[in-house]
């Protein structure tokens, strides 16, 4: 009966910390996959922290957006989840990469490398001359 709240909350945080960039559409999934690849099984909070650390705290990640992304990856079969216990013995849901997820990571990483390389050529001043 009531309308859904709109998606505003996604971008609120950027007002506060204007020196940080928002996560770009579509890149979060790749970051999650890469994080799980390098760290092994990890819970949601751990993934979020790790992504922030890896980005050198340049990235402003709204932790709430992580969970739908994790669900999507799980539905697509790239990751699997399991309940377990954290280091300080707290019950948490752990995610780990599946074989399909590893392949997907390779594919997407390659795509990104290619995309960024192309973009870099466009954007760098000497790119036009060669």
């Amino acid at each position: 009966m009531t309308d859904k709240p709109s998606e505003k909350s996604n971008y609120k945080s950027s007002d506060r910390t204007s020196d940080k960039t928002d996560v770009q559409q579509g890149t979060l999934a790749l970051m999650i996959l890469k994080t799980l690849d390098s760290m092994g099984a990890l819970h949601g909070y751990g993934i979020a922290r790790r992504i922030e650390q890896t980005s050198g705290n340049l990235l402003s990640l709204n932790y709430g957006t992580l969970y739908p992304a994790l669900l999507k990856l799980e539905q697509e079969g790239y990751i699997a989840s399991e309940w377990g216990f954290s280091d300080n013995n707290r019950k948490a849901k752990f995610y780990k990469l599946t074989r399909a997820g590893r392949k997907q990571l390779e594919r997407e990483a390659q795509d990104w490398v290619q995309t960024t390389a192309i973009l870099a050529r466009f954007l760098s001043p000497e790119g036009e001359r060669t």
């Binding site: 819970h43 922290r49 079969g77």
Partner: protein, 890 residues
């Protein structure tokens, strides 16, 4: 693949939501705790640690909401929610739901049942290989709408030269073959076909083989037959070793070479063949010259398989440009034109009639569905007004209008879908009733239409259900969602007038359409009665049968002796009042031999025979008395009007009026086939003519003065004291005791024959009565519902009126007058509609004029009376309004 898997899981996410929700709660809870612990380690106060963790998460509820959107399918979830809500609303008003679902289901069921017929008559593919490649080819006379046929050289020319067809087979269906097996005999429909017929269709016999090419080259040589599966079961006891056995067809011994597979009955819908014989046997069986040539053979039509890639239109164009018509003994009179059409559906000679029939039935049931929809739209509008407080509350709580429309519309679609399912079930039941009208043709041969459900019927019923749902649901949904919130929530009641014109308009439309349907139904009821009663003859207590000694090659003296002996024996039977006979032709009373075969003229004047329309029949002395046809002038034939006596003729009233308008017909002379006849009597016109055609002129000749014995085809009409259907078997017994081998067919009562002959009228009548009755009930519901609603909505106003001194009778009058107004308007509009609709029903109307004012008047009064009753009930409730209660109510 991944996306599909994800969608599948999301679909699964629609279920077990509680468990999934609690799991998410737990996960977020653990997330927060981990974060808080981290923050505490960094030295934050517990309150600050919690606050920061929550800020970083971006709100627990928002996260959950986004998570849920991803988990399930939001659109589907809203839909499921709407459906659940709609079902709850429908359950809350079971009366409305029952009326809506039931009427809609009846409407959908009627439409689906008619479509089942249309499907069987036009769309069902033949049960053969690649049926879409099959074409039927006819030679038609353009000016007249009937099929003339091909001669043998014409067929062979096309077969050898047409490049459009991979194979072409000739076919002639014969309705009455006399087939004798070792155990019994039967009159049945068979087909003479070319040797390649079965291989062309791709039909393999279940036993034995099909024809060899060599079996269709020498006239009269190869007496071989393939029998149908049904014939094999009923007449050959399903004998597995039947191949090679002998049966007699029209007294010629044939060898059975094969049994057709089950469900194969030839290539013409509705006309199942039981026996197939090579065309070379046409002459030997008595359907062409018996001189051992193909000279006077006429093929009804051809069946061909298109070469791949060739369109039907191109095939027809090729045949037309190719065709060289050659004269034959029978076919040298009229120019013909090749017509090629896809081979499914009914035979083209019947197509015009069934087109008209189906158009009529489909428009009748469509009108019924329209009335149902109008009725439901009206009910929903009233319901919407009754629910306006609820909707106002929802709008003010922030629901968007489109959301409300969607929700209300879902309710209508759910009604439509439930009704669609129920309607499909009704249609199966209705189909069994309808198929009764298509069981046999007017000569008593079995029709066979495949009326089974197929995807076309299913798709049709689903689409009309959804269409109806949109039709009756959308307008009320939009209307209901448009509200003035402030007035509504303040409890203002001016809204009861909103949409008044719309609801009244819907009821007027319903009454008008009902009027149209009921008038047509009334006319068809009267036509049916006129047909069953008979005009100027008495069809009650008549038993009919047809003797065909020609099929067993009786000579004229043998025929004559047979007739005398049979008549004597039948007249001696107890219970038989009188018996008559006449020369065969098609049908006892209606489809006479066409008079255009004879030249008839009045001496000294030009030939008077109309090209068609004159009917000639050879009848015996007791014919008029047995059928109880009144003799207007002169006398009937007597036993003395035999070959030795002067030739005499009897004409009907239409003939006499047409030729001798100013003089008595009795005593006049006629030249018939260059012989002179004296008119000795004038009888009444017996054909119950439709209002379209004037009674046609009939000419009766004495049986013994014609050469009818040559034809050896005799129809008998026997008037009995008791139930004629019970006498039929006794009569057969008597005839067989006189002559055990003479073929007996078309045994039925005259009422049965009339029913079959006028099947379109009787079928139309049944459908019309059903639809008309339902329309009447719906109109009553429609009128009742708007007045019941009006009374409820105007309780306060009525209370004020009564407090100011209005009498209950005034209140009653106020409401009833409004009802009369609405129904009268509907009736008047409907009367115009009925006059317009008569255009379509005219060919089915007998014995009354299509604009019969009595029917109009009676139906109009009936509708107004029903409308009065329907608004009297709410009006009485209005009379009982207590002013004090009504005013305190606010």
């Amino acid at each position: 693949m991944r996306a599909l898997r994800a969608w599948f899981l999301r679909f699964g996410g629609l279920f077990a939501r509680k468990r999934r929700d609690s799991e998410l709660d737990e996960e977020l809870d653990s997330h927060l705790h981990l974060h808080i612990e981290d923050n505490l380690q960094r030295g934050m106060t517990p309150a600050e640690a919690r606050r920061q963790a929550l800020i970083k998460l971006g709100g627990v509820e928002q996260t959950k909401e986004r998570y849920r959107d991803r988990r399930g399918i939001p659109f589907l979830e809203t839909l499921l929610q709407d459906i659940r809500f709609a079902l709850r609303m429908l359950r809350k008003s079971p009366g409305f739901t029952a009326v809506a679902v039931l009427t809609l289901a009846l409407g959908i069921g009627a439409n689906t049942a008619i479509f089942t017929l249309v499907d069987a008559l036009y769309f069902k593919p033949l049960p053969v290989n690649y049926p879409q490649q099959l074409m039927r080819v006819y030679a038609r006379v353009p000016s007249r709408s009937y099929n003339e046929g091909f001669s043998d050289p014409e067929f062979k020319f096309l077969r050898d030269h047409a490049s459009s067809f991979g194979a072409l087979s000739a076919e002639t269906q014969v309705a009455q073959l006399h087939v004798v097996t070792t155990s019994d005999s039967a009159e049945l429909r068979g087909a003479f076909v070319s040797a390649n017929y079965f291989s062309l269709l791709g039909v393999e016999p279940r036993l034995g083989r099909a024809f060899l090419p060599s079996e269709d080259v020498a006239p009269g040589r190869d007496a071989v037959a393939v029998v149908s599966n049904q014939f094999w079961k009923t007449h050959l006891a399903s004998n597995p070793t039947v191949v090679g056995a002998e049966i007699h067809i029209n007294r010629i011994p044939f060898k059975i070479i094969g049994v057709a597979p089950p469900n194969f009955y030839g290539d013409i819908a509705g006309m199942p063949a039981q026996v197939w014989v090579p065309t070379s046997m046409l002459g030997a069986c008595g359907y062409a010259c018996s001189d051992g040539t193909y000279r006077c053979i006429v093929y009804d039509g051809l069946v061909g398989r298109l070469v791949p890639g060739r369109s039907p239109a191109a095939a027809q164009a090729e045949l037309r440009s190719l065709m060289v018509w050659s004269a034959t003994d029978w076919l040298n009179r009229t120019p013909r034109q090749v017509v090629a059409m896809p081979a499914n559906g009914v035979d083209p000679d019947q197509r015009a009639e069934s087109d008209a029939q189906m158009q009529l039935l489909a428009s009748v049931t469509a009108s019924l569905l329209l009335i149902v929809c109008a009725n439901l739209a009206g009910l929903l509008l009233s319901r919407g007004l009754a629910r306006r407080k609820e909707i106002a509350v929802r709008l003010s709580l922030g629901a968007s209008r489109s959301r409300i429309v969607r929700q209300l519309f879902t309710e209508s679609l759910i009604l439509a879908v439930i009704a669609g399912i129920l309607g499909l079930w009704f249609s199966i039941w209705a189909r069994d009733v309808l198929s009764g009208f298509y069981a046999t043709d007017s000569e008593g041969f079995h029709h066979l239409y495949d009326l089974s459900l197929d995807w076309r019927v299913l798709a049709y019923s689903i689409s009309i259900a959804l269409l109806a749902g949109i039709f009756f649901g959308l307008l009320p949904a939009i209307r209901t969602s448009r509200q003035d919130l402030v007035t509504e929530l303040k409890g203002g009641s001016c809204a009861e007038h909103s949409g008044n014109w719309l609801r009244h308009g819907l009821v007027i439309a319903q009454v008008a359409l009902s009027m149209t349907l009921l008038v047509s139904a009334g006319l068809l009821i009267r036509s049916g009665l006129a047909i069953e009663r008979g005009t100027n003859f008495d069809p009650g207590h008549m038993a009919l049968l047809r003797l065909r000694p020609e099929l067993i090659k009786y000579t004229p003296p043998q025929v004559e002796s047979l007739i005398h002996r049979v008549m004597q024996a039948v007249q001696m039977m107890p219970g038989v009042q009188s018996a008559a006979f006449m020369e065969g032709g098609e049908g006892l009373v209606w489809n006479w031999q066409n008079g255009h075969e004879l030249t008839v003229s009045v001496p000294g004047e030009n030939q008077i025979t109309p090209a068609s329309g004159l009917r000639v029949q050879d009848v015996n002395a007791t014919f008029f008395a047995t059928l109880r046809i009144p003799i207007l002038q002169g006398r009937a034939f007597t036993e003395q009007d035999n070959a030795a006596a002067p030739r005499v003729a009897i004409v009907n009233d239409a003939f006499a009026q047409g030729i001798w308008p100013h003089a008595s017909a009795v005593g006049q002379m006629l030249l018939i086939a260059r012989r002179s006849y004296q008119v000795v009597g004038v009888v009444a016109n017996i054909q119950p003519s439709s209002t379209l055609q004037a009674a046609s002129p009939h000419l009766y000749l004495s049986y013994w003065q014609s050469n009818a014995t040559q034809n050896g085809d005799i129809r008998m009409a026997i008037r009995v004291a008791g139930d004629p259907s019970r006498e039929l078997s006794r009569i057969r017994h008597i005839v067989q005791s006189v002559d055990p081998i003479v073929p007996i067919g078309e045994e039925m009562t005259m009422s049965e024959q009339l029913g079959l002959e006028y099947m379109p009228v009787l079928l139309g009548r049944s459908v019309m009565i059903f639809c008309g009755f339902l329309a009447l009930v719906l109109s009553a519901i429609g009128v009742y519902s708007i007045f019941a609603f009006a009374v409820r909505a105007r309780t306060r106003e009525i209370g004020v009126r009564m407090a100011l001194g209005a009498e209950p009778a005034d209140v009653l009058r106020m409401i009833v007058l409004r009802g009369v107004e609405v129904s009268c308007l509907g009736v008047v509009i409907g009367a115009f509609g009925a006059v317009g609709a008569a255009r379509f029903t005219r060919s089915l109307i007998f014995g009354v004029t299509a604009n019969d004012s009595w029917t109009l008047l009676a139906v109009g009064l009936l509708l107004i009376l029903v409308a009065l009753l329907a608004c009297y009930i709410p009006a009485r409730r209005a009379m009982k309004v207590d002013p004090m209660v009504a005013l305190r109510h606010e």
